[in-house]
């Protein structure tokens, strides 16, 4: 990575940033890149948007527990 980041490297730093603090040099390069590249700026925004909404998915019912399956498990517990 030179002083100018590629979009590939920039998007990688964006993804890594929430897990580890970036080095000063990387922060600067990323800031510079984001100020010039509208695609990476959009990637940054949209990625953050997905991240902030994804946790709520955990509390959303995505699929019903089938009553027949429940019945079967209850039966098998009785025989344990």
């Amino acid at each position: 990575m030179g002083l100018m980041l590629s979009c590939k490297d920039a998007s990688e730093l964006i993804v890594k940033r929430d897990a580890e603090e970036l080095k000063f040099y990387d922060r600067m390069r990323l800031m510079m890149h984001l100020s010039m590249c509208k695609f990476c700026a959009l990637f940054e925004k949209q990625n953050a948007f997905i991240d902030s909404n994804i946790k709520a998915l955990d509390n959303t019912v995505v699929k019903e527990f089938q009553p027949e399956s429940k019945e079967k498990i209850l039966e098998s517990l009785k025989n344990e």
Binding site: C7, E20, C40, Q46, N47, I50, D58, V61, V62, K78
Partner: protein, 192 residues
């Protein structure tokens, strides 16, 4: 059957009736397979039945059951990832195909404007159905790493340890997962 076991089994049946739905949902968002989720819930209650004598009602039932289920899920993940290791990590595709040889976004992968309020919390069921759908399109390894990171807030280094993968492999997995998820949401939610 002694009276004591009968009582245990009745207690666990009651626990099942009040917590099974929650636990099933917890499992299926993490393993994306109805049958595996059902098996994990069943294993959880079998373990609960064996340990119910040690269960102190000091802790909440749901917390206790979720803790058992969490361990079952991690065991399942480990098994899955070991299969990957066996089949070699070739499946671990890099992010190359999103960018050209100079590292610029490919035309078809360039993020487009989404006409939404980025600060808004989304409440529509449709949004979450699509998000779940996009999550399910990730490959297994991506999905596991992503779920551990975002649902369970596990630190990156601990995910690497649990799944026995290197940190650089982990970042390729997550980077690709995020590129893919963003693109999928753009296609299925924003532009639909």
């Amino acid at each position: 059957m002694s009276d004591q076991t009968k009582t245990d089994s009745e207690r666990v049946s009651e626990l099942f009736k009040s917590h099974a739905d929650y636990l099933f949902n917890y499992a299926i968002t993490r393993v994306n397979d109805q049958h595996i989720a059902e098996d994990l819930v069943q294993d959880t209650f079998v373990a609960a039945l064996r340990n119910i004598k040690n269960f102190e009602s000091r802790s909440k039932e749901s917390t206790w059951l979720t803790a058992i289920l969490k361990n079952k899920i991690i065991d399942h993940y480990r098994k899955k990832v070991r299969q990957y290791h066996k089949e070699s990590l070739d499946d671990l595709r890099s992010v190359e195909d999103y960018f050209d040889k100079n590292g610029k976004w490919n035309k078809t992968d360039q993020p487009q404007k989404w006409h939404i309020n980025y600060n808004e919390t989304i409440e529509q069921k449709e949004f979450y159905d699509i998000l779940n759908n996009c999550l399910n399109r990730l490959n297994e390894l991506q999905r596991i790493a992503f779920t551990m990171k975002h649902f369970d807030d596990i630190k990156s280094e601990d995910i690497c340890k649990e799944l026995e993968i290197t940190s650089s492999n982990y970042w390729v997995i997550i980077h690709r997962a995020k590129l893919q998820l963003r693109k999928c949401m753009e296609a299925k939610w924003v532009n639909s």
